[in-house]
Amino acid sequence: MNDFAHLLDRLAYEPRRNAKLRLLQDFFAGTPDPERGWALAAMTGGLTFREAKPALIRALVEERVDPVLFALSHNYVGDLAETTALIWPGGTEEKALPSAGEEAPGLGHNNPPPSVPTLAEVVETLATTPKRDLPRHLSRWLDALDETGRWALLKLVTGNLRVGVSARLAKTAVGALGGHEADAVEEVWHGLKAPYAALFAWVEGRAERPESLNPAPFRPPMLSHPVEEFEDLDKLEPEAFSAEWKWDGIRVQLAGGRDRQGRQVRKVYSRTGEDITEAFPDLAEAITFEGALDGELLILRKGRVQSFNVLQQRLNRKAVTAKLLDEFPAHVRAYDVMAAEGEDLRGLPFAERRPRLEALVRRLDHARIDLSPLVPFATWDEVAAARADPASAGAGEDADAIEGVMLKRLNSPYLPGRPKGPWWKWKREPYVVDAVMMYAQRGHGKRSSFYSDYTFGCWREGAGGEELVPVGKAYHGFTDAELQKLDRYVRNHTTKRFGPVREVAFGRETGLVLEIAFEGVQRSTRHKSGVAMRFPRVSRIRWDKPAAEADRVEVLERILARGEREIAPGATMEASE
């Protein structure tokens, strides 16, 4: 447990992906089974057990430490788990304390030192132990662990373990032990169970590749590269490509198969392989095939695609109620097929997969699954025209839910990952507004010495006249040279400091205008302005523009209004228009 805790500790401080990867690899290579397997489970969200309540932790520590001193400490540190970890008497690093009177009875010197628990012991005990025994186990472990170990244990048992590592990165590190790509690990992942002994045996070359026991496994998706400007297309021959709409939804995978008893297995996966079937019973119900479809999750009402705003109200809901299913009906617009009728189709070129996809969707004949239509074209100019005005190019009423076009090479197989060349995404032109820099914060990693995160605002009529109100935050879009200038600007125009944040001078007469590009606007209860941008970035620095001429919040509200022309739940088409 201590080793795992120290890994978490290092990861929590390490901002660089490659360095995290190195730390993970180092840990997996040097830690035996099943300890490393449970660690992998902890990092990929694969642990389930009864969580301990903060009140329980507090009670344990107050049995051992003067409550006044604990309260002062908690106040200072600001985190219950960390305060407890730091203040816990005993522990392996304890010196001979003069404050013996504060120690709990039973911690006397006659008892042998408790043995340091393994992560395996912790996880297995938590999974099986009755609630009333939890305090006893916890205090025994806390006595045996060092400070970092106690911290990690408390974060783990209270369900607050934030690792700073994605499941994908952990899998990448495991794969790298045997020179495998993360995708190879993904392929076998859903057949495996913690603590993953078979997985480690395989990547270390000690055993065969584990048979996937999952009849409906996740298949890592194929990703695209962006078309930055029209000239990028000059190198590509239009006749070698197919075009389709890029939908503004969430990429999902529908997988079906039959288990050994011949029962249908239905799975909905997110694009990273997360099993989200339980959140989408309405989609799962449609998975009556043996195979895998790649498509976009959308909300359709009366046959019309709703805005991303609406989709968001369906996502991330813990409870899937009948009302939610009714008001936010999920739909998949399919654009590729990886397997059908038990056959892996990923080796086929797109031109052959597409008819298989069309046949499958037709055969399914399900209201929740339809086909993403192709966009016919002969030249790149025609694609550009469709991209600029999807409504006139066949998308009709759904045009607002389109964020660009996808170009797919006809002869390309389905390649997991992001191969350069076969798939291109060409997004619509972003929206832009001119906003005024209001606050700046230091960045991370390589940028940690620079003020690189900017909060910017637009004008509105306030109680006391014209005022700037924050509308968003951006931290990229500029070059390193521009960053140096912005950083200097922030330092030279600071008016207030709030911890790591600086307020810069802004007003009618003073302030720096940033041109912000973004993909859309959502309602926000968090921002004072009531709106939040999607993917905002600095597209230009307007050193020349007076702050008084920056845009008004109403510009954003108009964009928001456009996106909200969706059909209200339960309303008829006529009523909504």
Binding site: A12, Y13, R16, D66, L69, V77, E93, K95, L97, S448
Partner: protein
């Protein structure tokens, strides 16, 4: 000074006759001198060379020979009108009181100052630690009636780990990332040299590269007989070639452009504050090293008991918790709100650093220097 404690004293004399608080800091009316005054005074007794305790511009300064030399290096030879060396343990008559210095274990030359009159003894500990430090003499317990303690780490969450483990963390990171430079923020006086000595103890025999601001004091330590090995000054143009190097710089430089020119730098910081994660994060530290020149909580408590003091005055730091703890032990205690010392410890501006360059650093964090 290991003599038995005097037993009798006139009932009329109280501790405040020996020591009181003035605008300039602690003042002894019977001896007509200040201890670690924060403004220029006639006569100053200085516990150690950190900038918040040792300031320039006093008339007469009494301090250990090492502290006097440190002050001369930092402020120039004319840092005061006249200076007088205090030899450890040697009793000196000043006005109506007797004074002696005893080692405090904080940094090279650091001392506690004992003030006696008519059988009563007050000890001003200055900053002190009980942990081993290869660069200075260990703390000596001086029994006393009133003990004035610092409380930089005066909360029970502060228990400094074994320094060896912390240095190993640094060396393990160098082994794991041999292509990256490791930039270690450390205070120019004391902490930097202690980290160097600890690295040598752990077998690091390659050069330890120094920021310019550390050079003079490190040379002074070497002259005082502390072996620190090869410590070249970083040449700006060579920074990008220092793969796998360990580089020491003042804390304010770890986030500077200066440190960004090293190959993919790992940012480390050697400080007792690194015990608290939020503190480390605020500073953008990637490799926190919990190495402190102050006493941690158990050592603060232990030292109070060791001195047998009836009364404890608690200065700069987390006074409340220590005062409360004294109460639970039946020891009279009060906070002494000294102005001018770092709220969080040694407020030590880095000499040689242009402080005007980055006024925006959270001031609390600038001071969080222990």
């Amino acid at each position: 000074m290991g003599d038995a404690r005097p037993i009798s004293r006139p009932m009329s004399q109280s501790a405040s006759d020996l020591l009181t608080l003035t605008r300039e800091g602690l003042y002894c009316p019977l001896g007509r001198f200040h201890v670690d005054p924060t403004r220029p005074v006639e006569r100053a007794l200085i516990t150690h060379g950190h900038a918040d305790h040792a300031r320039a511009g006093h008339g007469q300064v009494l301090a250990t020979p090492e502290t006097l030399r440190i002050m001369a290096v930092r402020y120039g030879e004319d840092f005061c009108a006249t200076r007088q060396e205090a030899r450890l343990g040697e009793r000196m008559r000043i006005g109506d009181v007797t004074v002696f210095f005893a080692p405090a274990g904080h940094v090279l030359g650091s001392a506690q100052i004992a003030i006696e009159r008519a059988g009563q003894r007050i000890v001003v500990s200055g900053d002190y630690k009980r942990a081993a430090d290869p660069t200075c003499l260990p703390f000596e317990v001086v029994p006393c009636d009133v003990f004035i303690t610092e409380a930089t780490f005066g909360l029970p969450v502060f228990r400094h780990p074994d320094t060896r483990g912390e240095v190993r963390k640094l060396l393990d990171s160098v082994a794991l990332f041999p292509e990256r430079a490791h930039i270690v923020g450390a205070y120019a006086l004391g902490k930097a040299q202690r980290v160097m000595a600890l690295l040598r103890e752990e077998g690091w025999d390659r050069p330890i590269h120094l920021h310019g601001a550390m050079e003079k004091l490190t040379e002074l330590y070497k002259r005082e007989g502390v072996p620190l090995g090869e410590t070249p000054k970083v040449v700006a143009a060579d920074r990008k070639t220092l793969h796998g190097a360990i580089v020491l710089c003042p804390p304010s430089s770890i986030q500077d452009l200066w440190s960004r020119k090293f190959p993919d730098p790992v940012t480390a910081f050697a400080s007792g504050w690194m015990r608290v994660r939020a503190r480390a994060r605020q500073k953008g530290v990637e490799l926190p090293l919990v190495i402190s020149d102050h006493s941690d909580w158990p050592d603060l408590c232990r030292t109070i008991l060791d001195t047998n003091a009836e009364e404890v005055w608690v200065t700069h730091g987390q006074e409340d918790a220590l005062v409360h703890w004294c109460g639970t032990r039946g020891i009279r205690a009060k906070p002494l709100h000294l102005l001018g010392y770092g709220d969080d410890g040694e407020a030590e501006p880095d000499p040689g650093q242009d402080l005007g360059q980055d006024p925006g650093q959270d001031p609390r964090m600038e001071e969080a220097s222990a």
